[in-house]
Amino acid sequence: MRFVIALPYAWLAVFFLLPFALVLGIALGTNDPDSAPPVALGFSLKNFALLFTDDLYLAAWLSSLRIAATATAITLLLGYPMAYAIARAAPRRRPLLLMLVVLPFWTSFLIRIYAWMGLLATNGPLDHILQWTGLTGGQATILGTEWAVQIGIVYAYLPFMVLPLYAALEKLDPGLLEAAADLGARPIQAFLTITLPLSLPGIVAGCLLVFIPAVGEFVIPDLLGGTETLMIGKVLWDEFFTNSDWPLASAVAICLLVLLVGPITLFQRQQAKSLERRP
């Protein structure tokens, strides 16, 4: 058993835990474009100070949180009815319906986002439909706006919302709803007092699984967003690859980590609880 513990423990300590210490170390250094790698080690907090005083970075933090929260809410509103309908479908249909939700996840993430580039482009299919309805009054470009980023997040992460919601809703005993109806509860009352509270673990897990990666998302704002769509994952990427400012990029990574420690711990705790609850 000792060897069985040691193998994953050592691997993860070396390749997952140790690197974070390095990131912290580099974040305290300064940028030195003349050396390779472009870092002068030291102990300065100026990278962190910059992240919390410069308007550009502050705006990026705030809009990352706002975009991720909005997209999570939309994903929940779309995913809940879907999970509910699947959980109430005939048992022999459920595997197929679930597989259809999961299938896009097995195809390429990059290509699923790419698909929206064409759909959302000026004069693309969606623009044609909008022009036809007359809602937008002429040509409308969605690609390159925050809306496009929201659509991309909802689309990419919908399976992560539906699966935990389904797992919670499927366990729900229909007898409880019948009892409520027999006692005179209207469907909406029964939903609010029985279904919703009992599916709360699924709601929390689904929202965290969407929100956490969405905050640090890079591909979606890069391909679907415009120059004015600021997200912190893209800031980190640009600082690193475009400006070669490794210390600043490391400081962004540390802050992102600190920001997400709360949600991540919450998710881990729930995950552990749900595994222990199994007989």
Binding site: P19, L22, V101, T107, Y114, I212, W246, Q268
Partner: protein, 263 residues
């Protein structure tokens, strides 16, 4: 909801349309004669020919496949050990840290993991003179984030596992290793298999982590796709998307059919 089947049907129709229409449009346009996405220029297979003759794309795909095979296999082994420990070793020093380390990569923003692993490889290059960035560093990075997915499936499988079989083997004098290899492993093999498949898919698809640790020489398939897609819509990518979707759908169909036949 049984009283209002129309509502459920509408919800599902809308949801699945949202999930599948974009993919459908991409597949349709892979047969488009015109270069533009907004114009249907008639049916043509010319972009299929262009992609299949694209040496750079093909060698990138080959590299991605090799990395995915190596990293999924390593992740299956280490993930099996991690899942086994999580399910069967309730108490040992550092158990809490162990749990966080296993789940951590699953929820860590990829840009954060990318920069941290790159700094590790730069550091080891400085101190130990290697490994050279490329196949090995990408495979290590992919293994690290895939372990979680295998471990979770294995742990879940072991949690609802009939332990009396293992106890019987032990009572009959089998050593722990023999018991594991002849009783436990065959029973949890499907979980390890689906974990392997998940790790394989994640590795084939990963862009961000790869971009950080790849170095200057190696280009995986997602890196190629990304650099081409950044410049706008490319009909060759539509063809590639069609191939990937068809492959993924048939793989899932086969595995679904296999599990149903067993049940």
């Amino acid at each position: 909801m049984t009283r209002r089947p129309g509502f459920a049907l509408g919800v599902l129709a809308f949801g699945y349309a949202f999930l599948y229409l974009p993919i459908g449009v991409v597949i349709l346009y892979s047969f488009n004669e015109s270069r533009l996405v907004t114009v249907w220029g008639g049916f043509s297979l010319k972009w299929w020919g262009t992609l299949l003759a694209n040496e750079a794309m093909l060698s990138a795909a080959w590299l991605s496949l090799r990395i995915a095979l190596a990293s999924a296999t390593a992740a299956a082994l280490i993930g099996l050990a991690a899942g086994y420990v999580l399910a069967r070793a309730p108490r040992f020093p550092g158990r809490t840290l162990f749990g966080s380390l296993v789940i951590g990569p699953m929820v860590m923003p990829e840009v954060v993991m990318g920069i941290s692993m790159l700094l590790l490889f730069v550091g080891s290059d400085r101190l130990l003179g290697g490994p050279e960035r490329g196949f090995l560093t990408i495979a290590i990075a992919h293994t690290t984030f895939s372990i979680a997915f295998v471990a979770i499936v294995v742990q879940a499988r072991l949690a609802d596992f009939d332990r009396s079989l293992e106890e019987a083997a032990t009572d009959l004098g089998a050593t722990p290793w023999v018991t594991f290899l002849t009783v436990t492993l065959p029973l949890i093999a499907p979980a390890v298999g689906s974990g392997w498949l998940l790790a394989f898919t994640l590795s084939l698809d990963d862009l961000i982590l790869t971009q950080f640790v790849a170095g200057a020489q190696s280009q995986t398939l997602p890196m190629r796709v990304y650099s081409s897609v950044r410049l706008g819509v490319d009909p060759q990518i539509n063809v590639l998307a069609t191939i990937i979707v068809v492959l993924a759908a048939s793989l899932l169909a086969v595995s679904g059919w296999l599990t149903r036949r067993k049940a």
